[in-house]
Symmetry: C2
Subunit: 463 residues, 2 copies
């Protein structure tokens, strides 16, 4: 049973147990992992009432916080596992089966080379090791992330929000019991999944780089920044989601309206919602009034620079939702029905603006000019660069990954929406017959370095 | 011209310049990069005398340090660019041409999916951005790393050792002049390569995570640890190289002798040299005396546990090179002709020992038993796991990469010997026709998520 009392020694022990479990998981077969996921699914279905009971206690406490104005009602809603007439719990159960069905990300051969006769090198994907996931509110994350970790052969330490403490604990107990009840020939150590609940434990865990390989903070900008600043362990995630749409001088009006409006209003609180609209001055009189009308009709507040303001005045577009842009608006992630508008003199100015003020998450160009689109997509340094498409497509499910660990604005390991492949790394396996490095070199044996066709070896390491 | 005066503001400016240069490099074509590398080669050939003159000054200063006992003679030798009757400089020149010939690591499509009709997603490799490389002694690293950075489209900030200051400055000047003299249609900003020379500048640069994407420390364990502890920027490298060979009960004697001796003596100062020999107690009397004789004949000191000591005594192997192992020897990277020997009771004990004490760099098993080999290779958590092959093969050139940025024991991004692919990440390019996320969902449009065959699009983003 995981320690949850916040004492640093216990936390270290817990992380060591996770490391040992991860080493056992390194050699878990697809069959092992599937059996575990199916068992988790069945036990979750069986104990639905107990979960909803625990969830009810969290909801009761949260209700008091909402009434006292200390908790937002949207957070309260995210806490509720009984929502949608039971659909939410059904979705949770289905999610476990969906993960079970995903292709195994481990055992994939990505390079195979015959270094010499009987000396063969394989680069094979394998689990990263131990994950630390810190999340807020939504208790179903306990299940989702644990399943993704097991599927990819990783051990996981979970830290949820205190609002969901009872729900998290109940779900965690089910995960533990499911793993503990696997038949011996398919065993996975229950210590592969651990739960902690206090901030003190997080502070300790963030220092345990010998035992933890990757931290994934899922939550507020403050949470992500705190984690980034407090650890040497690699962090996968993003603090900001400051996305932009650039409407080029060669933009089609209809596409511009569709893309800008969807990017802004489809779900303004998401990290892939657009905050900044850049527009070429040639496109202003032709395209901008229609864009502005589209945004206004959806209740968006527009913060305008001088030229875009003048364009709307000339076009007779008037609304109480029009205000003047301030310099700091270009560095603000509104996460709300607000957009700031800047007029640019060139494609290059738009690119420079995005590279300077954007968060390297997702940026789009609207244009009919292919050369301009390609220049934008090459030169904008972001995880996603889109041509005539809404920034809201930046999402693991929309990309077809079947799962999303998070969205990363990192420049190493994994970038953009991250699926299961973000939870694996690789190892090199070298097969020899007693080969020595000293027998190669000038006047000695020479390396062959002959590629081995991947299709001939792709199943070799799948267990 | 790069600032080298150690003032923090200048260092920040330099990093900002590198960032801007990296943005320009994002769209550099293969032709651009080849032209730059050829120009660098030609100018290096043309100014050989000036480089060797500068190098002579460094050597003169270093000679005094060697005489005073403050510098090792091996470091002095590594400093010398005129070595090998001019072969070293010829090798430096050839190295530039070799890098030019390597496949371009950018523009590679690793995923292509039709999300819907006319909505196509591509994952395309691209440069990481700005690299910071910190190295010691060997001045040719200035050229090698700059060429690898340019080839992969990255800007680079170099910090060399003070012993090579004159050589580094002269080589850096050639790189700057080469880039500055490119024809305009093939221009690459000379600010893509920067040189700093003081430790103060490094301390500043390690804090500039908005401008620097990856740090690669190449040098002592102390240097790597200092860097790891001083920055939030991802660090690629390894502090330790504690490799092991495990001689299984089913080991072939001849292979065991070859692999162990080569792993230890081929180049003891390298990170991939073996420090620990684990041997199954069943293999002790049969195989260990021959291994010990092989090691002794090469001047290796053996630090023995009780059982291995007794085996040698019984076999009549006697030598002044035999001593008793201490507990701390199993955690020591000797980097010398010393090996510590531990007898284990099982394969599992060997695996557990390596996972606990090893540095996750490269570990080998010697056995004729395939099941044991596979268990070892699955369960040992290291960048390289070898069967009947010397740990000394862990090297980018031996792996056939044509270049080596360094060896990484990281669990994310790049692991093991790292070639050019360690200097790239990817971005997602999405091509639409005005598509909006709001038009998909229940009762609306559905995603196709249809794979686009990679062979049909592999050249699409190569410029």
């Amino acid at each position: 049973m995981a320690s949850t009392n916040g004492i640093s020694d216990d936390t270290t022990t817990l992380a060591q147990q996770a490391r040992l479990a991860s080493l056992a998981l390194q050699s878990a077969s697809k069959k092992h992992k599937s059996a575990a996921l199916k068992r988790i699914h069945d036990l979750l279905a069986e104990r639905k009432d107990a979960v909803l009971e625990a969830n009810k206690r969290d909801l009761e406490n949260a209700k008091k916080e909402v009434d006292a104005g200390r908790l937002s009602s949207s957070l309260y809603k995210r806490l509720d596992l009984s929502g949608g007439n039971g659909d939410k719990y059904a979705g949770l159960l289905q999610g476990v089966l969906d993960v079970e069905q995903l292709p195994d990300p481990t055992g994939q051969v990505t390079l195979a080379t015959r270094l010499d006769n009987d000396l063969e090198l394989y680069r094979v994907s394998c689990p990263v090791g131990v994950l630390l996931i810190i999340f807020e509110a939504r208790p179903e994350v306990v299940v989702q992330i644990s399943c993704l970790a097991i599927k990819s052969g990783n051990a996981v330490i979970l830290k949820g929000g205190k609002e969901a403490a009872h729900s998290n604990q109940e779900l965690f107990k089910i995960l533990q019991d499911a793993l503990a009840s696997l038949p011996e020939e398919l065993s996975i150590p229950p210590t592969a999944v651990q739960l902690v609940s206090t901030r003190d434990e997080i502070a300790t865990l963030l220092k345990l780089d010998p035992y933890i390989d990757l931290v994934i903070p899922r939550g507020s900008k403050q949470l992500v920044q705190y984690v980034q600043e407090s650890t040497r362990i690699p962090v996968l995630g993003h603090a900001d989601g400051l996305c932009s749409v650039y409407v080029d001088e060669d933009a089609d009006e209809e596409k511009a309206v569709s893309v800008v409006v969807d990017s802004k209003v489809n779900y303004p609180a998401a990290c892939n919602a657009t905050e900044t609209l850049l527009i070429h001055f040639h496109a202003l009189p032709r395209v901008f009034p229609a864009i502005a009308r589209g945004l206004i009709s959806k209740g968006v507040q527009l913060r305008l620079d001088e030229r875009s303001q003048a364009t709307l005045t000339a076009a007779g577009v008037e609304s109480g939702q029009l205000t003047t842009a301030r310099e700091e608006d270009f560095q603000t992630e509104f996460l709300d029905l607000i957009i700031v508008v800047k007029t640019v003199d060139s494609l290059q100015e738009a690119i420079a603006h995005i590279n300077k003020f954007g968060s390297h998450h997702t940026d789009a160009i609207v244009t009919e000019n292919e050369a301009n689109a390609e220049e934008f997509m090459s030169k904008v340094d972001a995880a996603g660069v889109y041509w005539n498409a809404s920034t809201r497509f930046a999402d693991g499910f929309r990309y077809g990954f079947g799962a999303e660990i998070g969205v990363s604005t990192n420049k190493t390991h994994a970038r953009g929406p991250v699926g299961l492949e973000g939870l694996v790394i690789y190892k090199y396996r070298l097969y020899g017959k007693g080969h020595t490095a000293g027998s190669y070199g000038e006047g000695k044996k020479q390396y062959l370095h002959e590629p081995i066709p991947l299709e001939t070896v792709k199943d070799r390491f799948i267990k």
